[in-house]
Amino acid sequence: MNPAVVAFVALFRRDLLLAMRRRGDMANPLIFFVMVVSIFPLALGGDPRLLAAVAPGVVWVAALLAALMSMDALFREDFADGSLEQMLLSPCPHSVLVGARVLAHWLLTGLPLVLLAPLLALLLNLPTEAMPALLLSLLLGTPVLSLVGAIGVALTVGLRRGGMLLALLMLPLYIPVLIFGAGAVEYAASGQPWTAPVLFLAAILALAVTLAPPAAAAALRVTMGE
C-alpha cells in the first residue's frame, strides 16, 4: 500500500483510539453545545416567540463556539508532547496527515453535534418544518468549521494563550458559514425556499476540503520552525 495511505490510516486510527481511551472527554463539546443553547432562554427571559425567532441563530452560534473550543485540542497537545515535531519529520505529505486529523476531529465532535441539534432546536421552539434545513446546513457547515479551524490552530499552535487568539483569527472566517447556515434555517422556518444557502454551503465545503489541508500544513511548517 502507498505509505501516505498507511500513515493516513494510522493517524486516523490513533485519534479514534485516543478518543476511546478518554471516553469521558468525548462528550465535552456536545455538553458545551447543549449548555450554550440552554443558557439563552435564561438570559433572554423565556418568551417563546422571542426564542423561536432567535433559535436558528442561537443553535448556529453555539455550534460554532463548540467547534472553536474543541478545535484547540487538535494540535495543541501534539505540540506540547513533541508528536507534532515528529509528524513534520515524516516523509509523507503533510497535508495528508492534517487531513487524517481533521477527519477524525469532525467525526468525533462535529457529527454528534449535528445529530443532537434538532433536539435543542425543539427546546427553543423552532418549527419542525425547519429541521431538515437545520440538519443539512449543519452537516455541510460543521466540516468547514473543522477544516478552516485547522488552519487557525496550525497558525497559533505553541503560542501562549493560543486558544483566545484562535477565536480571534477564526471568527471572521467562520462568518459566511454562519450566515448561510443560520440563513437556511430561518428561510425554512418562515416557509421560504432554502436551497440557495445550502448550495452555497456545499460550495464552501468543496473549497475548504481542497484548500484547507495544504494551507494548514504550510502554516504548521512555519510555526514549528520558529
Binding site: 488552519i151 487568539l165 472566517l173 462568518i175 450566515i179 440563513g183
Partner: protein, 244 residues
C-alpha cells in the same frame, strides 16, 4: 529597470529609497488633500437634505476605499514575501496591516458619526457596514497573530498565510453579507437617498481619495522603514543609520 526593482529587495537600499519616496508621497498627498478640502469645505454647496453634515464624506469615503484596497495590497505583498522570502515584502505586509487597520477604524468612526444625525443611530447591521467590521477583525487578527509569534521571520510567514486565507474569504464574506442583508433588511432605517452626486462635490471627493491613497502609500513606507530598522538592528547599516 529589472536591476532597479531588484535593488529594492535589499534592506539598506529599501530603507534609503523608501525614505525619499515617502517624503515625496506625503508632499503630493498634502497638496491634493488641501485642494480637496478647499473644494469640499469651501467651494462645494451645502447638501439640501443633510446640511453641512454631509461634508464628512470627504474623509469617510476615501478612508473606506483605502481600507479595502489596503487588504489586497497586504495579501499580495504577503504572498510575495512567502514565495520569495523577501524581507522587504515582509515588512511592507506587516506595515500594511497597521495602516489598513487605521483606515478601517477611521471609516467606521466617520461612518458612525455620520450615521447619528442622518439615520438617528450610530450603527445598523447593514451589509456594507458589517463587511467593513469584518474587515477590521481580519486586520486585528493579523496584528494579534504577529504580536504573538516571537521570531520575526516566522511571524511574517504565518501572517502571510493568514492574509492569503483571508483574501480567499473576502469575496465569500462580501457576497454572503450582502446576500444576507438584502433578504433580511430591517425596514425601519431611513437610508440616505442617493442623488446623483453633483460635480462640485465629486471633484473634491476624487482629489481627497487620491490624496488619501498617496498618504496611505507614504504611511506604509514609513512604517515599513521603522520595522525594517528594528528587524535589522544588529546589522551594520542599521547601526550606522541610528547613529547618524
Amino acid at each position: 529597470m529589472f536591476r532597479y526593482l531588484h535593488e529594492w529587495g535589499s534592506p539598506p537600499v529599501f530603507y534609503a529609497r523608501a525614505g525619499r519616496w515617502q517624503r515625496g508621497l506625503w508632499a503630493l498627498s498634502a497638496l491634493l488633500m488641501l485642494a480637496g478640502l478647499w473644494g469640499g469645505l469651501v467651494l462645494a454647496p451645502v447638501d439640501y437634505e443633510q446640511g453641512e453634515v454631509y461634508r464628512i464624506i470627504y474623509i469617510h469615503v476615501p478612508a473606506a476605499w483605502v481600507a479595502m484596497f489596503a487588504y489586497v495590497v497586504m495579501a499580495t505583498t504577503g504572498a510575495i514575501g512567502l514565495i520569495w522570502r523577501l524581507k522587504v515584502a515582509e515588512v511592507i505586509t506587516s506595515a500594511g496591516a497597521r495602516v489598513g487597520a487605521s483606515f478601517t477604524l477611521l471609516a467606521l468612526a466617520t461612518g458612525a458619526i455620520w450615521g447619528q444625525p442622518t439615520w438617528g443611530t450610530w450603527w445598523v447591521w447593514d451589509a456594507r457596514l458589517t463587511s467593513v467590521l469584518v474587515l477590521l477583525f481580519l486586520y486585528l487578527g493579523f496584528i494579534a497573530l504577529e504580536n504573538a509569534i516571537e521570531d520575526r521571520r516566522s511571524a511574517a510567514r504565518a501572517c502571510a498565510i493568514l492574509a492569503l486565507v483571508g483574501v480567499v474569504n473576502i469575496p465569500i464574506i462580501h457576497f454572503s453579507v450582502y446576500w444576507w442583508n438584502t433578504l433580511h433588511q430591517g425596514p425601519t432605517v431611513a437610508r440616505l437617498s442617493a442623488p446623483a452626486i453633483h460635480i462640485s462635490m465629486l471633484v473634491p471627493l476624487l482629489l481627497m481619495a487620491l490624496g488619501s491613497m498617496l498618504f496611505y502609500a507614504g504611511a506604509l513606507l514609513s512604517w515599513a522603514r521603522a520595522l525594517m530598522l528594528e528587524r535589522e538592528r544588529s546589522s551594520r547599516w542599521a547601526a550606522r543609520e541610528v547613529n547618524t
